[in-house]
Symmetry: C2
Amino acid sequence: MQVEALPSAVRSVVQSHRCGGRRVGVVPTMGALHVGHVSLMEAARRECDFVVTTIFVNPMQFGPNEDFECYPRTLEQDLQRCEAAGVDLVFTPDAAQMFPPDAESIVSLTGLTRKLEGRDRPGHFDGVTTVVAKLFNITLPHRAYFGQKDYQQQLVIRRMVSDLNWALEIVTCPIVREDDGLAMSSRNRYLSPADRERSLVLFRALSMAQQLAETGSESPDSISRQMQQLIGGVNGVDLVYSVVADCDTLEPLVETSERAVALIAARVGKTRLIDNQILRFR
Amino acid sequence: MQVEALPSAVRSVVQSHRCGGRRVGVVPTMGALHVGHVSLMEAARRECDFVVTTIFVNPMQFGPNEDFECYPRTLEQDLQRCEAAGVDLVFTPDAAQMFPPDAESIVSLTGLTRKLEGRDRPGHFDGVTTVVAKLFNITLPHRAYFGQKDYQQQLVIRRMVSDLNWALEIVTCPIVREDDGLAMSSRNRYLSPADRERSLVLFRALSMAQQLAETGSESPDSISRQMQQLIGGVNGVDLVYSVVADCDTLEPLVETSERAVALIAARVGKTRLIDNQILRFR
């Protein structure tokens, strides 16, 4: 497994594989790799001939009061996980090279990014789309892999790729959960034992939403409210939003739909968690 | 010479040439091709193995009160000029495919685009950078050719390419002028005979600026003011700006510099013209 920090080195390796007719799969990450990330790398390994993982804690997608400074950095373990997953090349750029002081170009979306996460974290998605645009131009994937856990993020990136004509396919892989249902996240390690327990209410709310949808007798709005009540009943969990939305536009649904997703964001102690569940209305 | 309207068709042709080791040169244009454009295509022809010209009147770079509707469209003549210049492929996308109603991604710069042209034409450069990003992702150039006539535009595109890591080189070709000095522009055909005569003051002002710079005794500010006076003295010519600026940052120069450019924008009748001249201070 090759580890490269220089964009030009990564690009020339990938170019030679592309021209040799090999399919290139890329898994963009911020490191602190967990089983969820591993599932992305394994999917890329199954479907592509040359697999690149990028590890970069992107300062541009953190707000001024967010956890950029203390975001977990576990490079040595990350590289072991990449190697074990059969990754061919790990790209580990440094921040000064990714965002030199005179850089001033931004890729932004004007609609999707204003909703849900975007409303609560202004500027977050501009950071995501800008760094992902850069990573795509450096790693030249045929396929890029993202987790459904960051549901809005994968939608935003799909939109960006389509709008700006990158010739690549976005693959969204299912959420990987702990045995008790908590969605895997690099931020879970921030949780105290008591907060870890409290955080399970997110999965409980989404499971309830799915059960209610299956009954066929509850409206999306009623389901949203019941999720809200359930989460509101747990001390130490501050709901940011819970919504049943169209799975493409993220607009709150008024009527039941075949294209629905329940999305939740909440603060548990100081830790901000998100989770979601595609709903199958009866 | 091949003419293609579909991005996917263009991309697959270009990809095969790239992988065959051939260098791809791209000349993005809005059509209404003149001798200035031809010089770009000829440069691409000399320096590259496969030459693509794109012809697309980009609605996103026109302001609401600008000349999008009446911008000259001369496709048949344009194709003849491309063929004569040895172009291999002309990409002629249609607007509905380039900007479908649900598109919402924008590439923008936060500094360079706020100055000069950007101040007078808000949103203009967002339209330019967004469409050029799309064209780069479709046509996959090794080199892309722009005219120095749109001085700020080529700076903005260089910045974008560097910031967002496209693996391509921007080539800026010299301004091509009519015999009497007027810079070639698709908009020159709007000029009435009287306005055509008046418009020569732009070149006169830039030539004067160059002479003053060569004397070594005039400050950039004094040169700007003298350009302003000269242009202000011509009835029917409304100066938008005339400035001596740093040729990379476009900040007005206080002291003489080896990296100076004089830039002018003016309205002559209803026609907005721009022109510029690199200055060599003694």
